[in-house]
Structure formats: structure tokens, C-alpha cells
Symmetry: D2
Subunit: 386 residues, 4 copies
């Protein structure tokens, strides 16, 4: 695993728990965690149960005893590491977003396409593997909502409402690529494409930075850092509002914001079709709402499905009905699915091509926002190998 | 209409709105409202749209131009007025509870049974006529929950949590009969019997007065009165917890309380059967929750039915789907149903016999509470005419 | 009252109930209802309690015994009737939207400005008078959310999801002006401006007609009509998605749709500020959600206020705490406020100028939608009298 | 760890995750798991990450390299194993309920009291360690609800609604002690005592077996077993309804049932005091509802606290705000707290004495149920050593 921030903790739980809760075809060893600060990464290794720590990711990638490279660094380093790992014949898991730019993402998708047979590349949109989200996708695929006519997708947080929240790397364009758009907007773009099985074909959008100067970051990092003296410029967006059109014709309203006071991790998606509707909210992670327009008129309503039955995706490996799962279970399911795909010789999703597709939508939103919100079409990627 | 307190306002809305919103077979005239304080009742008449006011109910009952007598006085006067009215050949509507004692209620039920053909007697358990409650009853009758195996019924308010709330007539046994038990417990007993179509056959219960001394009532009356100097004894219960058994065998948990901090008018009933379950909450009056155990396993959940469709009981006369109804609509439906029953020559529900059945359960709870919570059986009433 | 469709029923309840539930300074007489079909309007008069019916609105407006003209016809006739009524010195209430075009709305606003002293003009955005909405406005005005930073407003229905719903007047541009945009979009624009006290200064939007051909309307009208043979073209939008910017700087996401499967009358608004947030949903009409960022960290959360306390706007006239109100209560409050404004010599809100402001936003959305979603600025109206 | 059923999986997660997510003072090694079926327990050891498996618990308890004995067997074997382990100087964690009978529980409490200094004994009421429950307790202790006046506690499941669910050990008195009462009723008794800091002093109750004959258990065990031919008698209760009185005077309504159709793991507790109220529901595990009667009247309501802030108990070790936890996190917190208590020389809760107190209440409910629901007082235990 390259990187050891907050995402490193979550990925570690995934690797630790997957072989204990699921019956995997091969065993998993947590070999080495890599980071620039030798002391800090050694501490992380001990704490999270990795056998070793190291500070040079190139050396680790070159090792014969490493099969999977899991990349959880900030987005600006994803392309270099992932391409090198793929070229070294390693399976690669990259935390989302795939990259900070379309160019990087294209290079990564090309590298994945060019990799040796059986070498797998996967992007970490783990919310796909929340059981309720997988169920949502399955029900749409089974025709339960009919033809998709509208989608509403939003991801709302409030951790930037406080103007004294310091200037972490996520607020700097050179490290994060973009702000709410790339961090949380990427999730709802991917989820929309995943659950509908359609692509976002065009967008019109607006992005905005509400608080433009923030205290410099002192001690710590990320969300929990403390402020130092002086102020610096926020170079990414705080809010992104955009409208998309799916290739099947439906309109989608997207909203990504870090200024929705009182909303902590409020991803919500609602898909409306001519036969029914489905709704998921991440803060109520164990439930899925389903409206069946084909039910008798006097009985129609949104059914709140508690997605904790053994009939539901992934759930049979866990607890009895009504015993809820949490945020990190998506990482366990991600590790399980990647290991099974590798062992089974199949391609795991989301692929790098899917990660690139998200990146293209993000890019199109920024283009539209810079052009008075005019609509921007998203072209499909032609792989370099074609 | 005899009486002009809070309930008078609600009944007046019923009589005023029913002929305007529904297509009634006969017209309704709001003739006269009766109360002891001539000035106050005259004001009420003007305000609520009654043609006249009067202070002697016996005179009014004797009038030829009066067809329906609507009794909204405190419970200790129900029996005398209702029996006189029935004997005078008037149709009678009595606000719940039917009476303060079983003896009074029996006399009233006997009077109703002995009344002339076509003279109708009805008790004002208006919550039966909330569309969601009528739907709940209909769905049980249609077998949607299968065999009833458990019922949970509670009615929780908090207006007595403040120990300085003054000693209104509802807190005095001689006027109110009992406290939370008779006032709000009566509602959940009636609703349980109504929706299940079964009778409570036995009970074991506990009643309690939490605040035993309260300020004497000064100006005003009822819930909005202000305190005078001095304290008096609360002679009714604040809380009643009891377990019942339906004649079909199912256990019922009942809870009536005026000390549920934060709960304002929180009547809730949940009926669990071997095929499904139904749940209603009065503070969320326009919805009904339905769980269908016969649905596919992965789709089961409580469906929140917004009971505002024209397919739902009473709703077609009101607004389009999603335009919600409120508390007083039950009184409009009550007026409509009574007028239609009179005109159509049918017996309206709830009958005085049903009101008496509730009274018997209330009495049995008090007996049980006075006997270390031992179970008390409720015998069916043998009408005097039998 | 001119017109007698669904809105006529609702306005009639307003006039009927206001003097009965509130202590008005003057009495209200429901004099005459006007419609082209003499039989139908006579039936409506009888049913709803109007003293007379008539078929020529000009004659009625000319009568000396008429003080208030209440206009509930389709939008294309609002301007002509309202202007004539104002010129005749009558107080005017016009159901929303004020008009179908900006030009008509401007003429109406000018007529209201030019009317004799003390002649009042009001637009029927009744949702302002839902107690929870009035409370929401009051709390923002009191600084409870601090500086408004984001607004989310949506109004979602599903009555057009069925492609066989017939082509009612609301789906024809010549009568309705626009579709979801003007009908329900108008509500969320007005509500946003009302509760924030700010104006929408610019918009970027998209409108769309999802089902373009519908069965011709046979018997009946409006939502409850039945289909005839043959199909006609839908000439208004089904969905409108737009982003607005308030003059105070905040972004607003707007969504108006009749294709949100399972949503019946789902107006929702959430206002996020630097000190807190407020949220209202019309299908849960008696509650308001408040998030207080100034509360202790471990106790922060959305507080669900049941807006049924006597301390809440309008509520003291109705029932005890927890006894909920419904859709038509807004019409009662509207009638009360208009009568009190007339009697008290004050200007009621929303004024025609406010109605015009909504119309300008609607117009700007259509302009933007026709211009590849580019932003369109909304200029303030310069009254003709200036 | 002795035992390896469903609870073994959950306890294993606790031991595996605690040292990885929390900064423990000593390291934890998962040494040996013990079960009668050597093959099955070996599989469990491999799967769950225990270093060894064994089939004789006495041998394992005798080993010097074992510090903590974690007992997750059915209740009938708890006493023997726990007493032996304590006498061998091992720290003991016993899954709830402490035992099947009061006599066994007393012996265990006595053994814990008689154990060597520093030897710790703890009962596995893990729900105490759901962050929202710990917060609930803390807020009551801080006076946020004032004087406790009422408690409502229910635990409702529906896995026995299907009459063909086979006769697992949990339905047999000799293994399970009692049914819904001892299994899930025990949780709400403990939680009530934990959060209020008071003891249940008396109870009046009813227990019932709704389905008295069930298919014999074939393959598998527990909830997931399949039926064999033939039927056997259910010897435990399906439902327990009881009323309790706390030693501080407040009444408590308790309901434990496995026949609440549609309810999967619906533990709920609501504590009402003269200053406020608190409510927790296990199926919505990450939230706590708080009503503050001291807030301004127009702002009062239940605040839904999303208990995922770093200011909340246990949460800082996990994820950012809004990233929810699940069922097994309570087991992680339990392992952490036990290890910290052992290392820090303090007594962990709940103690065996607290487990015994629950057992006494369970026993009193059964006595009351057998005696026509008369009230039964619960005497405090006099430790043998006293």
C-alpha cells in the first residue's frame, strides 16, 4: 500500500477483514506500507498490521513478493505510481479519483489496457459496494424502475462552513485537482453511471469558491490539521452544481458541496423511471427506498428496505438481519472482489476506463463553468491501443 | 350542539365543512349552540357560525326543528343529556369517552337500543375517520396482515410534564372520570378494537399519578388556563400502562401518558400479523406504514403510503395527491358519515355499544391496577332489552 | 370569486373558515362566484356556500356590494380581470402565478401601483402561510442561520409519469404559460425570495418535455379529466432544472418536475448559512427542521420542530399542540391576512411586484434554456409610474 | 475464546480490530479458539485468525500463556467455564446473558468478587458501547433530561413469525434459559439500568409462546439452520411484555418480542425526564434523538444527532463525521475497554454483579407471569463474601 493517510486506515481494514469475513480463494498478506516519512509510516505499519514499512515505492513495486499495489496517496501522484506498477506486472487498486487530470487518467487507462493478460486495474469507488447501492444497481438492471427518466444525485458536507478550517492539501489545486467537484462530485458521477448503466454525455455547470482565503495549515494534515499563522488562497471549488444528460436521454441534477450546514456525509441518489423509483442516502447506509408504480394504487409508497438480509448483496457474510453495517464495509467488499477477480481471471469494476470516464465529466463541468455554463459534450475515450 | 369548549370548535368545523366538501343527501343547518354562560355561548355561536345560542339544553332538545344533538360537554354530563335527547327522538352524537362510568355508559347503550327506529346514536371517536386509520382497518379486513398476532398501541403527550400546569377539569376525577387512561387511553382501546375487528377480552395494568398537587385553575379553562394561588390534589392518573388480550388471542401493549416529554399528540398503533404489519402515527397523520411479508425477500420493508390518493378513504372529496389533511378533517368525515347514515337508514359507527365496550376496558384497567395488576376479564354487556 | 376549478374549492375554504377560526376585524360575506358555464357555476355556488353565481365577471366587478375580487382562473386571464378590478377600486387576490408573461405581470404590477389609496393587491402564493414556512422566514430574519450561503429548492410531483395522462390546460402553453416551471417552479422561486428576503439576480437553466404527445382531454378537466380519442402536442415543459444566484451572493439549486416517480407534492427547501440551516418539506407540512451550528458540538443535529405550538405563527387559532394542520389552512391564513390588511390599512404580501419578480425569474429561465443554458441576469422592474 | 458460533465471529472482529483502530496500552494476540468439534473449530480458527484451535476448554484455561478467556457458548455452560477461568486467575469476558438462572449468576458474581486482585470479569452487553448509547448515558448523567419520569424500552424482531422456522437451541429452555425475554429482553433491562444509573426494583409481566410446535432442527444451527422431519415443542417464550419500576420511582414499559413482523433488530429506548428526553434505536445505530425542554418554545423538537463526530464516545478512532459505524463496532469497543481496564487496573463494566442484576429481573418477570402478573420485587444480591 502506497500512502498512509485516512484512506490508508480504511484500505487496511479492507485487507484485514476481507479474508476473515469472506471465504476467499487465496490468502491475503498485508506485506508493506510505503510513505516518505520513515517514522510515521513505520508507526502506521505497526498500528494497522502491515508486516513492513518502506519509503521508496519504486523499490517495493520491483519486489517479486508483491502482487497487488494499493495506491492511497493524493491524486497528483496516482498516474506515475499506477503506471509503473502495471508495467511491473502488479495488480493495481487506486483510490478515487483516478487522477487529477484527464491526460493522466488517459495515460492510466492506456496502461491498464496495455498491461499483461491477467493484470488487473481497479479504481476505489467503494460506495458501489455498499450493499444498498449494489442492490439499487441490480434492481434497475432487473427493470424495477423501468426506463430511467430523471436522476438526482447530491453529495453534501459541511466541513468548510467554518472559515477558520485551515488550508489542507484538499483545498490546493496542485494536489487535489479540484475541490468538492473532484472529491465528492466524482462519487456521484460514478454512482450515477454505475447504477443506471449509462454514461453522462453532456453537462452544464457552475462551480464556486465561497471562502477564498483560509489559515495556513500548521501541525497535522487533512481534516484534523490545526491552523498556523497567516492565510493562503483556496484554489479549488467549494461547491459544484451541474446538470447532466445521460446517453439514454434522462436529465440528472448533480450537487456537490462542502457548505451544506448540518450535512456531514450526505450522499443521496434518486433514480426515477416510468415503473418506479429508487433512493439511497449514505448517512442511512443500510437502507434503500423503493417505489413501485406497478403496485395497487392504494398501497403505493416508498418502501424502506433494510438491506441487512442474507438475500442482499454481500450481507450473508456478516450478521443476522437488522444488524447494520458501516462505512468501512465497502472497503472489505472491495478487497474481496478484487482478490476474487484476480483469482478468477475476471476484470473487476470499476475499471480505469470507468475512472477515466468520471474524470472526463469532471473536466467537462469545469469547462462549462468557465464558459458561462454552456453545455459541454463528453466524448468517449479512444484507447491508445486502438 | 351542547357545550362549546375546544371540542365545540372542532365539531363546528365538522358541521360547517361536511356539506361544502361532500355531496350530502340532505342539507345541514347549524341551529343552536348551548352553554350555561349566556354571554360566552353567544360569542361562540357568532364566532363558529351557529344561528342561535341558548342556555337550557332541555328546552333545545324539546324543539321540533332540532334533528341532531351533538354533545361536547365534559364526560360527567354525557349520560343525562344523551338519554334525554334519545328519548326525545333526536339523533345523538356524543364526544368520547361515552361516559365517565360503566353504569352511565350502560344506561346510554340501553337508551340507544331502546330508541325509536331510525334514531341514531354515535360516539365521537373521530380518529377512526382519519383516512389512514380507515385504510388500516380496511387492509386488515382484506387480510393484508393475515392473522393478528401482536398489537402495540400508545398515546403519548407531554402537557403535564410541567408541574405548574394548573388543575383543569381534566385532572379532576368527578368531571373527567379518569386521566390519561380515559382521555387518551380510550382512543387507543377503541382504535385497537376498530381496526382489528376484535374485542379486548382481558387486561392487566398499572396507573399512576406522577405530580399529585397542582396549582388551582384561575382564569381560562382547559389546557390554556392560567394558575391561581394555592394547590389542589390531582385525582386522576397521569400514566396508564396495560397489557390486553384480544378475543382472537393476540396480546396488546397499551400505553397512555401525559408525561412523554417531547411527544405532543403521539398516538401510534402497530398491528403485526403472520402476513404483514401496519403502523399508523397520528402526528404523521397522512401516512400509513405497511409491511408485506409476502413480497420478495430482498424487497421487503415498511412502505410509507401517503394516504392522499383519490383511491383512499374520504380523500377524493378533498385535494390532489400529496396535499395533506389535518386534525379537523376527522370531524368533517364524522359529520358526513352521521348525516349519510341518518338519511340512508343505516347505523353509524361507533355505536354506543362500542363506546360502552371501551368504557368496560377502562374500568377493568382500573380494577386491575387496584389489585396488584392481576388480570381482569371483560364481560360482554347484556343489553337491558335482552 | 372568478373561476371555480380546484383552486376555487380551496379559496372557498379560506373565505369560509377564516372568520370562524380567527377573530377578524370585519365580517366576510361570500357573495358571488363567477364562471362561463351557468349551470356548473351555480352548482359550485351551492356546494361551496356562495350566495350567488354569475357568468359575466365584468358585471360583478361593477357591483357596489363587492369589495374583494378573488381570481382563480387559468393564468391567461389574470391580467385582464385583475386590472379591471383594480381600476374599479376593488381589492384583488390573484392565484399564482401572477400572469403567464412578464408583459402581463408588469401591467398588473403597474395597475396595482396606480390603484387608489387603500386598494390592495395580493398574489396567492399560499405556501408562505404554512406555519412552518412563516416560522422558517422568521428564524432567518432573526439571524438563526447567519449569512445565507446556499439554498436548495425543489418541487417534485409525478402526475405526468403516466404517458396516458391527458392533455389538460396545464399542458398547453397558451393557457398555462409554462409547465412545471410556471406552475410549481414559481412556488419555489417565491418561497426562496420570501424566506431569504433576497432576490434571484441571475439564472442558468434547462427545461425539457419528456412526453411530447398526450391523449386529448375528453370529459372532465384538470388532473381528473379522462382521455378522448387522438393525441395532441404538449407545449410546455415537464421538468425545469436551474441554478440561481441571489443578490446576496448565494447559489440556489432549483428543480421543478412532474416526473419524480413517487413524489406527489414534494416541495422542499433547505437554506444553509454560516450559523445554521433550516429545511421544510411540504408533504410533512407541520414540521420544520433546524440545525444550530452554535450548539455544543456533541448535541448538534437537525431538530424536528412540530410546528403546532401556540407560540408558532397562526397556530393559536387552531388546535392544541400536536394536532396537525393541512393543505387548505394556508388559504384560511391568506384570507385572514388579506382581510386584516384591508381593515388595518397595510399592504399585504406577496404584492403584485413580488409576483412580477417571480415572473421575471421564470422568463429568465426560459431565455437561458433557449440559449444553451447561459446565465441570464434579472433586471429589477421600473414601475411605469416612476 | 470458548465457542465459535455467530457470537464467536463478532467477538473475533472485536479482538482483531481493537488493537488496529485504537492505541492500546498492550498488544493483543488471538491465541486459541475452543470447541467440541475439532474440524469445525479448526476451520473457525483459520477463518477468523486465531493462532490455534483446541477442543478441551479446561486445558486451555490451564495454560500460562492465556490471559483472557472469552466465553461465547450458549448460556447453560457460562457458569462452569467462567468460574473455572476466574479461579485459574484469568480475566473473563462472558457473552450476555450472564447465565441461564439466578443461582448460576450468583455463583458467578461470587466467583468474580472472590477472584484475585486485578482479575477482571465483564459481561458482554455490547450495546452499551454503541457510541450513541454511551452518549445517551453521558447526557442523562449530565442532567440533560432532568429527573427520569418514564422509560420505554422495546426490542422487537420477527424471525419467528414464520411457523416453519426450526427449533434451534435458542428455543429450548435447557440451553437458552428463556426466549425473547432472556435473549433480547436482557438487553433492554441492562440498557435501562445502564443509561439511567438506576435499578429495576419491581416488575409485573406476561410472557407467551405464540407458536408452540416447530420443525426439528436438521443441518446447521442457530438462525440459519434448516428443518428436519418431525416437530418438537418450543419451551421458551416468544414475547414478554412487562412493566417495571426503577428504584428512583419511574415506571418503565418493556417489550421483547420475536413476532413483530417487519422489525429485524429493533431495539428502542426512550427516556423522558422533566427537562428533556432521549431516544435511541438500534436499527438507526448512528443517531441519537434529544429533546430539550429548556430550549425556546418555538424551537423545541427532537434533535437527530448523528453520532459520528470526534466529540462523541469512541468515534475519534474511526472515520470523519458522517461516516457511519455498524453492529460489530460495539465488540471492538468492548475489547478495547477490557484491555484498557486490565492494563490500567480498573474494573470494567458491566460487572458480573450487573449481569446478575439483569438475571434477577428476568427471573422476577417469569415469577410475575406465573402469578397472574402480580408485581414481584427484586431484592439486591448480598455477595457471598459479605
Amino acid at each position: 500500500m502506497i500512502g498512509y493517510g485516512f484512506m490508508g486506515a480504511a484500505h487496511s481494514v479492507g485487507w484485514r477483514q476481507a479474508p476473515r469475513m469472506f471465504d476467499l480463494p487465496v490468502d491475503v498478506e498485508m506485506a508493506v506500507v510505503v510513505g516518505r516519512n520513515a517514522d510515521a509510516v513505520a508507526t502506521a505499519a505497526r498500528r494497522w498490521g502491515w508486516a513492513e514499512s518502506a519509503s521508496d515505492w519504486r523499490e517495493v513495486i520491483a519486489r517479486d513478493d508483491i502482487d497487488i499495489v494499493d495506491i492511497v496517496t493524493p491524486g497528483d501522484s496516482h498516474a506515475e505510481i499506477a503506471i509503473a506498477a502495471l508495467q511491473a506486472g502488479k495488480h493495481v487498486l487506486v483510490e478515487k479519483p483516478l487522477a487529477n487530470t484527464v491526460a493522466e487518467a488517459e495515460a492510466m487507462a492506456d496502461a491498464a489496457a496495455a498491461a499483461d493478460d491477467g493484470v488487473r486495474a481497479m479504481v476505489g469507488f467503494t460506495y458501489r459496494r455498499v450493499p444498498a447501492v449494489t442492490l439499487l444497481r441490480d434492481l434497475i438492471a432487473a427493470g424495477k424502475v423501468g426506463r430511467v427518466q430523471e436522476v438526482r444525485a447530491s453529495y453534501r458536507q459541511d466541513w468548510l462552513v467554518d472559515p477558520e478550517t485551515p488550508l489542507a492539501w484538499r483545498l490546493q489545486k496542485e494536489h487535489a485537482g479540484s475541490g468538492a467537484l473532484g472529491d465528492i462530485g466524482a462519487h456521484i458521477i460514478d454512482m450515477t453511471q454505475f447504477v443506471t448503466g449509462q454514461s453522462v454525455a453532456a453537462v452544464s455547470g457552475t462551480v464556486e469558491t465561497i471562502v477564498t482565503q483560509r489559515p495556513l495549515l500548521g501541525a497535522g494534515s487533512g481534516l484534523s490539521g490545526t491552523a498556523a499563522e497567516g492565510y493562503g488562497e483556496v484554489t479549488v471549488d467549494d461547491v459544484a452544481l451541474f446538470t447532466g444528460r445521460l446517453d439514454g436521454g434522462a436529465l440528472v441534477s448533480f450537487e456537490a458541496t462542502r457548505f451544506a450546514t448540518g450535512r456531514k456525509n450526505a450522499l443521496a441518489i434518486e433514480v426515477s423511471g416510468d415503473k418506479g423509483a429508487l433512493r439511497f442516502e449514505l448517512e442511512d447506509l443500510n437502507t434503500l427506498q423503493f417505489y413501485d408504480r406497478t403496485a395497487p394504487a392504494e398501497l403505493q409508497g416508498f418502501t424502506r428496505i433494510l438491506v441487512t438480509e442474507s438475500a442482499h448483496p454481500y450481507v450473508a457474510a456478516w450478521w443476522p438481519a437488522g444488524h447494520v453495517l458501516g462505512y468501512e464495509h465497502g472497503f472489505v467488499h472491495q478487497a474481496k472482489d478484487l482478490v476474487e477477480a484476480i483469482a478468477g481471471g475476471t476484470a473487476p469494476h470499476p475499471s480505469f476506463a470507468e475512472g477515466l470516464a468520471v474524470q472526463r465529466v469532471l473536466d467537462a463541468v469545469e469547462q462549462s463553468a468557465a464558459d458561462d455554463s454552456r453545455w459541454v459534450r463528453i466524448e468517449a475515450h479512444q484507447p491508445a491501443s486502438a
